[in-house]
């Protein structure tokens, strides 16, 4: 061994980068970190712009690859009071460049860019957005056409878009994901990943059961008290089936009877007055004896056209999903065995053997799925094979795979009422349900932000009509204002009369129900606060919202965990959030 100096050499152990990111690698692993480092995030900033910068801070610290700030204005005194990433010396300079500079200091490995432009001129040619992998747009936009343009382009190019509002004590963000956004690594609760397949045991498991339970009544106490509960259940299932035409207990009453039968088998003439393994067995009857079923999330994946009909350009996700669907069909509704075994009372050697039986089965299921994948690759003439790792991850988490179908962000226009189409009923229910339970729904917070967007659109339209005395043609359905100079409406007053109304032709169910005093009350209160704040941000609320938005951005970039689907509001007075699918 080499003689060492007093300080240990730096060569050993993880790299400096791994050390720096150690605490987050334990959440999203190297694959998530790579995705983060490959990301190019665009911030379209406006207003006080604090929430946008705070969001970026939370992305730069963990090492997002690249960020760009688009912001039109120069730094004023006002900014210094709320924006942590500006200094006295920034006064009068480009806010995009100055905040970019100070944010950059947080992490030298991140590449920052600043563009001093307004959002509307930046997106004049929306194809500019294709240079980025994720967009954060701070609302309200100057008029509704800008939001609409960005949203439409993001949909077309499958770029995730976050639309954020933060005013006074309230904030909101909506996530527009690509039309199909599949997540394999949803990080389910470890306890729920246990599929023990007791109703469909395979030969090796049955042989081991016979070996360990064949002589059950005559076993010495110690062994009897250490038969793993899985094997006990399998043993008693055989006993049960023998007298019932080979059928396992299915109904609740049957299961209850079955549990009683298992409990009967425990020896009670001991100090504890029972046996722990038998307790475990009875406790798990309901959980473990369910016929195979698949989650609604996975069903949606299986039924999707992309899963049924593979193409040459199909994503890996669909090719594997296709193979797992085939497995599912070929094995009577079973999914590949995850292979994990819960903790249980057992002798160590038995437990390890049982563990090996489960692992071996999981490996053989995985091999079968892989074979199907390889066949598809040959059929479709795909040159670069999917990595085993990816197939294995899918096999293990198949039950928990999630497909989110991105929905376009709602655009509130001053010229036409908002349509709620297929969500009308669900949102109406949300308000009614909360009211029935005597609760205050937070949905009106979202309405208030829509009213704010609409108000900005209205002002912009009026200003434009003052400049061009002809009717505004580019906005379809606009009212003819005949060039008259109209007073700028007051937001609180305007909002009071503004209801995101429904078109009774399209949406026969009247919604939203602003006739409930509760919803109207919340709406008016939020509007009052938005009006009072007059677009200003409170640093603390912006920092908190920046934390929430960045959290969801990371989930979207890493394709791990399940992101908010698709709208979240925050009430800073009650410290409450709510998530709605809009």
């Amino acid at each position: 061994m080499v003689e060492r100096t007093t300080t240990p050499p730096a060569l050993q152990g993880p790299t400096a980068k791994e050390k720096k990111y150690d605490r987050q690698l334990r959440l999203w692993a190297a694959s998530g970190q790579q995705a983060l480092e490959d990301a190019k995030v665009l911030l379209l900033n406006s207003g006080p712009g604090v929430v946008g910068v705070e969001t970026l801070k939370n992305l730069i610290l963990p090492g997002v690859g690249n960020y760009t700030i688009v912001d039109e204005v120069d730094v004023t005194e006002k900014d210094l009071g709320v924006n942590f990433f500006l200094e006295e010396s920034s006064l009068g300079k480009s806010r995009a460049e100055e905040s970019c500079k100070y944010l950059q200091e947080l992490n030298p490995e991140v590449n920052g860019n600043a563009i001093q432009k307004s959002t509307e001129s930046f997106v004049e040619k929306p194809s500019v957005l294709d240079n980025y992998t994720l967009i954060i747009l701070i609302g309200p936009t100057k008029d509704s056409s800008i939001l609409e343009k960005i949203s439409q382009h993001a949909q077309k190019s499958s770029i995730p878009l976050f639309y954020v509002h933060c005013v006074g004590f309230f904030s909101h963000f909506s996530v527009q994901l690509p039309a199909q956004f599949p997540i394999v690594d949803t990080h389910p609760d470890p306890a729920s990943t246990q599929d023990l397949r007791l109703l469909n045991p395979w030969p090796e498991l049955l042989i081991f059961t016979r070996e360990k339970t064949g002589n059950l009544p005559f076993q010495p106490d110690h062994e009897h008290g250490h038969v793993p509960y899985l094997l006990l259940l399998l043993h008693y299932l055989n006993v049960w089936k023998a007298t019932r035409d080979g059928k396992a207990p299915a109904k609740y009453s049957d299961k209850k009877e079955f549990a009683a039968m298992v409990a009967e088998g425990a020896r009670k003439n001991n100090a504890e007055g029972g046996e722990e393994n038998f307790d475990e067995a009875t406790a798990n009857v309901l959980k473990s004896l369910n016929p195979p079923s698949i989650s609604s999330g996975l069903r949606e994946v299986f039924e999707s056209d992309d899963c049924r009909n593979l193409r040459k350009d199909s994503a890996n996700f669909w090719i594997i999903a296709h193979a797992i669907n085939k497995f599912h069909a070929a094995h009577n509704g079973l999914l590949p065995l995850p292979g994990a075994l819960p903790d249980m009372k057992a002798q160590s050697s038995d437990y390890i053997q049982l563990q090996n039986i489960y692992k071996a089965k999981a490996r053989s299921d995985f091999a079968e799925v892989t074979a199907t994948v390889r066949q598809s690759e040959r059929d479709l003439d795909i040159k670069s094979p999917i990595e085993d790792k990816e197939i294995e991850a899918f096999c293990k988490g198949a039950q928990f795979v999630k497909l989110i179908r991105g929905r376009p962000i709602r655009v509130a226009k001053s010229t036409e009422p908002l349509g709620w189409s297929d969500r009308a009923e669900a949102l109406s229910m949300e308000l009614e349900n909360q009211k029935m339970m005597g609760l205050e729904s937070l949905l009106p917070i979202y309405f208030a932000f829509l009213a704010l967007d609409r108000h900005h659109d209205e002002i912009s339209r009026l200003e434009q009509s003052r400049r061009e005395p002809s009717p505004v043609k580019e906005i379809p359905g606009a009212r003819n204002v005949s060039g008259a100079v109209l007073p700028v409406p007051n937001f609180a007053e305007a909002a009071h009369f503004y209801t995101p109304a429904v078109d009774p032709e399209k949406e026969p169910k009247p919604w939203p129900r602003f006739d409930t005093a509760e919803a109207r009350g919340t709406f008016d209160n939020v509007v009052k606060e938005l009006d009072r704040a007059d677009g200003a941000e409170l640093h603390n609320i912006s920092a908190l919202t920046g934390g929430m938005v960045a959290q969801e951005v990371i989930k979207v970039i890493t394709k791990q965990y399940v992101p908010v689907d698709n709208t979240c509001v925050f009430d800073g007075i009650a410290s409450k959030t709510a998530v709605f699918n809009i």
């Binding site: 152990g13 150690d22 801070k57 470890p190 390890i352 603390n540």
Partner: protein, 625 residues
């Protein structure tokens, strides 16, 4: 603000930009590379500098009108006494360990200063308001939080308790836990009996325990020595001689063999010989040094760098020998510089010290082989042994923001609207809240009576407290004990200290005494006395309680609950399992695990349904990794 780490950095920024007038920052830690992914007030060039000082400097630039003061010190230092705490309107806890949290909680309750407590792990976070109030409602304590909701709280409890969370969290089979229990029983055997209370801390690390045992043994008041039997002392001495002879051989060629044989062979064989222990468990198997030496021939020492793979038995052996050599070289060098007077230098485990981590990884895996436990990679063991909690900027940002919002409510004395707030990673419920809870009568911090005790240091003896105050004035019977951090000062069988002065017993100003009533029928809640020293007139009693006290009685013991954590907030990962499975007949509740509604005080249902945690097998699960 106590703690300038992940939450602390965010909190300081928010406080500065919200316009708080004067902020004191206390942190004894220095900046490490692994902090930089979230603690944004620190940069590469700040590594190894004081967190408190750098945080102050970085934040000061943003608001010159705010008075900022930094203390690079331990919050438990005597300078931060009750009077010091009373100088603040509000205290924020942004700490990473239970010990300091408990301490600040106690000090704030004693000083009657509102405390905003917070913590995070991974995507989860928690904020809680703790206020002392005279009315029965609205006061809350950190121990309470553990009990409110199953898994979440247990996670935070773990973090606070500095237990080895992942060891129990990673779905290891029962066998691991069994072994843990066994190891500690074995290592602790003599001193567990020394103090009944030590038993409850059994699961803490053996090393720390051993150190504690030694220090307690050394510094123990004479009166306590009788608790050891002669036999136990003899066996302790023998053990200590054996260890000493191994220590002497450090640096020699057979040092590794000696350590190895002691830990992996002799101790194991001795354990194995206690047949009672192995009636229901698989006995351990000792390892063979020569056999492993042979198997390990040709294994490169660079093996230790592969931290993602699980090493083989021989590889672990190779790393064990190599790291032991590295450590002994370092220790010898260090000790060579020791001065005569000082205690000999030691090396302590640090997860970022590769030599110690290699040693712990290899030793832990070798022990795993002995007990038939699955081995782990260095990466995973680092997380276990280093008590690494995943941490990210986003959760800290949200948690700190919520802290400030709660502070607004406290400062407006709007406690009815103050909340306990939880963050969760699940998309359906980003933030949840719950109302503040009244004190928990069984909690060791809030479920107690608090008072000052004025002591004249020149005259006061323990007997003055026992006779005048406790028995005569407060009506205690004979069965009670007086304790401080060091141990028991008085109980009915330990009266040697009665004639001693407070100062001779090491009871100083600003320290605490706890009076535990052991009355069999109807015991009082624990009484916590904070000591104030003052010259009292000669004709008055030398020990006085300034306030009139009505000490409540403890509630009757309730049977073990189904939530994790016992009534003192000490989450015990094992032991209640069997009881639970008997109590809960899942067949009685076919809908169990479906939905559970949560109401806040206004009777409002909190926005979201919570999936009841039905995996209450007592295992502690970290949600996010």
């Amino acid at each position: 603000m106590v703690g300038a780490g992940g939450i602390g950095c965010e909190l300081l920024k928010n406080l500065v930009l919200t316009g708080f007038g004067e902020i004191h920052i206390v942190d004894l830690d220095t900046i490490d590379l692994s902090n930089l992914n979230r603690q944004f007030l620190f940069r590469q060039e700040h590594i190894k500098k004081s967190k408190a000082l750098v945080a102050k400097e970085s934040a000061a630039k943003f608001n010159p009108h705010i008075k900022l003061e930094a203390h690079h010190a331990n919050i438990k230092d005597p300078q931060f006494n009750i009077e010091w705490f009373q100088g603040f309107n509000i205290v924020f806890n942004a700490l990473d360990n239970l010990d300091a949290r408990r301490h600040v909680n106690k000090m704030c309750l004693a000083a009657d200063v509102p405390l905003i407590e917070s913590g995070t792990t991974g995507f989860n976070g928690q904020v809680q308001v703790i206020v002392k109030v005279s009315s029965p409602i609205s006061s809350s304590s950190d121990s309470n939080a553990y009990k409110v909701r199953g898994k979440r709280n247990v996670m935070i409890a773990i973090r606070k308790r500095r237990r080895k969370p992942s060891l129990v969290g990673e779905e290891l089979p029962v066998h691991v836990r069994t072994t843990l229990r066994l190891e500690t029983i074995n290592a602790d055997d003599p001193q567990v009996r020394c103090s009944g209370r030590a038993k409850t801390r059994r699961l803490s690390s053996i090393t720390r325990k051993t150190q504690k045992m030694v220090s307690r043994h050394r510094g123990m008041p004479n009166a306590m020595a009788h608790i050891f039997t002669a036999k136990e002392i003899k066996s302790l001495r023998k053990e200590s001689q054996a260890l000493n002879s191994i220590r002497q051989s450090m640096g020699s060629d057979d040092f590794a063999r000696k350590v190895f044989d002691k830990v992996f062979k002799d101790d194991v064989n001795r354990l194995r010989s206690m047949e009672d222990m192995w009636k229901i468990r698989k006995p351990p198997t000792a390892l063979d040094f020569d056999g492993l030496s042979k198997a390990a021939e040709g294994i490169s020492t660079s093996m230790a760098q592969q931290d993602q793979t699980v090493w083989t038995e021989a590889e672990n052996f190779a790393v064990f020998c190599d790291s032991l050599k590295r450590l002994s070289t370092r220790l010898q060098k260090k000790q060579a510089q020791d001065t005569e007077a000082a205690a000999p230098s030691v090396l302590t485990f640090d997860k970022d010290d590769e030599d110690t981590l290699d040693f712990v990884t290899a030793s832990a895996n070798l022990r795993s082989i002995i007990f038939g436990i699955e081995m782990r990679s260095k990466f995973v063991i680092k997380q276990m042994a280093g008590n690494i909690i995943p941490a990210i900027a986003t959760t800290n940002a949200m948690t700190a923001g919520l802290c400030v919002l709660q502070a607004f409510k406290v400062m407006r004395e709007d406690l009815n609207r103050a909340k306990m707030v939880f963050l969760e990673r699940s998309g359906a419920r980003v933030i949840n809240s719950d109302t503040l809870k009244p004190p928990n009568p069984n909690c060791s911090v809030c479920g107690i009576m608090q008072s000052r005790l004025i002591v004249d240091p020149t005259r006061a003896t323990l007997n003055d407290l026992v006779q005048d105050v406790l028995k005569t004035q407060l009506g205690y019977g004979d069965e009670f004990s007086i304790n401080n951090e060091v141990g028991t000062l008085y109980d009915p069988d330990l009266d040697d200290n009665l004639s001693k002065k407070f100062s001779d017993l090491g009871v100083k100003a600003d320290s605490f005494l706890t009076v535990i009533d052991d009355d069999e029928e109807n015991p009082r809640v624990n009484l916590s006395l904070s000591i104030s020293e003052k010259s009292l007139p000669e004709d008055s009693k030398p020990v006085q309680v300034p306030d009139k006290l009505h000490i409540a009685r403890k509630p009757k013991v309730v049977p073990a609950s189904t939530t994790n954590g016992d009534t003192n907030g000490h989450a015990e990962p094992t032991g209640t399992k069997r009881k639970r499975s008997l109590e809960e007949d899942p067949l009685q509740e076919p809908k169990r695990g479906k939905m559970q509604m949560n109401f806040n005080t206004d009777g409002f249902l909190i926005n979201d349904v919570v999936i009841a945690d039905d995996s209450t097998d007592g295992a502690i699960v970290i949600d996010d990794d």
